[in-house]
């Protein structure tokens, strides 16, 4: 963003600066790995590549997409899938709340905030909170939309790559593609878990989730969230009370 001050860049120029910023950030690699994995997963569970692309555009949350694909693919009742997806999406609520004050000015129309709201996801949110505060207010929405379109384009493109790679690869390499999803989720979640409560929630979730699955508890992901999250929150409160 080094345009001379007497000649402010057009909305289109700001938008494409956002796209470029997306394609040169570390999240390009994270999304590449995650969506190659999700593409392979969608292939293995029998979805079409067009369905996968539409889910990346409409859902636009990799945990939600993994839950959607695996629960529908395993033949779980739709209501159980919907509950698991909505529980995994709660984190989007505080993210939108934290993001919008950076974009909104008194004269901003509600409909101009609809796209940034829909685009809110972990990668876009982290980069927006890092980059937007240094930018003039008038450019922020266009930049944010460009950034998001860059990330979504990456996700859709590598979703196709993973889908068609999984179809023609030897089992070991196809397995390695599927492994990209849990591996990159695990590490990026750990990296984002700065506070003790988030680290505890990660550890409890890792421990409780498989146990409930092994016992065939219905709504296992919901219970993993409620039990693991409450334990982490309880310990957080006890530590605060003790401090």
């Amino acid at each position: 963003m080094s345009a001379p001050p007497e000649m402010p860049p057009s909305s289109a120029a700001v938008f494409f600066a956002g796209v470029k910023s997306a394609l040169t950030s570390v999240f390009f690699l994270v999304l590449m790995g995650t969506y190659i994995g999700i593409g392979a997963l969608a292939h293995d569970y029998g979805f079409s590549s067009a369905w996968l692309a539409l889910s990346s555009i409409l859902v636009w949350a990799s945990p939600g997409q993994v839950i959607l694909i695996s629960s529908l693919g395993l033949g779980a009742p739709p209501i159980e899938g919907a509950i698991a997806v909505t529980l995994s999406a709660i984190r989007l609520f505080p993210m939108v709340v934290a993001l919008l004050p950076l974009l909104r000015r008194p004269e901003t129309r509600l409909r101009d905030l609809l796209l940034p709201t829909h685009f809110t996801s972990v990668s876009m949110w982290i980069e927006s909170l890092r980059l937007l505060p240094t930018m003039p207010h008038g450019r922020r929405i266009a930049f944010c939309n460009g950034l998001s379109v860059g990330y979504q384009g990456t996700a859709v493109s590598f979703g196709f790559v993973g889908f068609y790679l999984a179809a023609g690869l030897p089992p070991l390499l196809a397995g390695a593609l599927l492994f990209l999803t849990p591996m990159s989720f695990l590490i990026s979640t750990a990296r984002n878990a700065k506070a003790m409560i988030d680290r505890l929630a990660l550890i409890f979730g890792l421990a409780i989730g498989p146990v409930l699955t092994y016992w065939h508890v219905s709504l296992d992901l919901m219970w993993t969230g409620i039990i693991g999250g409450s334990l982490a929150y309880g310990i957080h409160r006890l530590r605060e009370a003790a401090a």
Partner: protein, 115 residues
């Protein structure tokens, strides 16, 4: 189920099971939560629940793997995830380095011990 319905059914499920349950939280954020800040107790608690769910998904994908990943033994999958995580911690907290090391261990273990 008629042929036309069978064609549309996955897309209907995508909207009902994927899109709407996910999007509702973004819209609630837009419409209702102007005053809430990131440190409020409700936000901290719901973030912990969301993180635990995500962790549950990760653990399930590693231990009860779908498709081709199931042909690699669980012990190899868990070892690879642990090595990837340790590499992430050791190599300047780089997500890329961690994922690459995890994948390398998985491929090596899978090559040696595949069923």
């Amino acid at each position: 189920m008629s042929a036309a319905l069978a064609e549309v059914w996955p897309y209907l499920l995508l909207v009902l099971v994927g899109f709407l349950p996910n999007e509702i939280w973004r819209l609630l954020g837009l419409l209702l939560a102007r005053g809430l800040n990131e440190e409020s107790e409700l936000v901290v608690c719901s973030r912990a629940v969301a993180t635990a769910i995500l962790a549950g998904v990760i653990a399930k994908l590693i231990l009860f793997s779908p498709g081709a990943l199931a042909s690699i033994p669980p012990s190899v999958r868990v070892t690879a995830a642990a090595c990837g995580f340790l590499a992430f911690l050791a190599i300047k907290r780089s997500v890329f380095a961690g994922v690459m090391v995890g994948e390398a261990v998985l491929l090596l273990g899978g090559f040696l011990f595949a069923r």
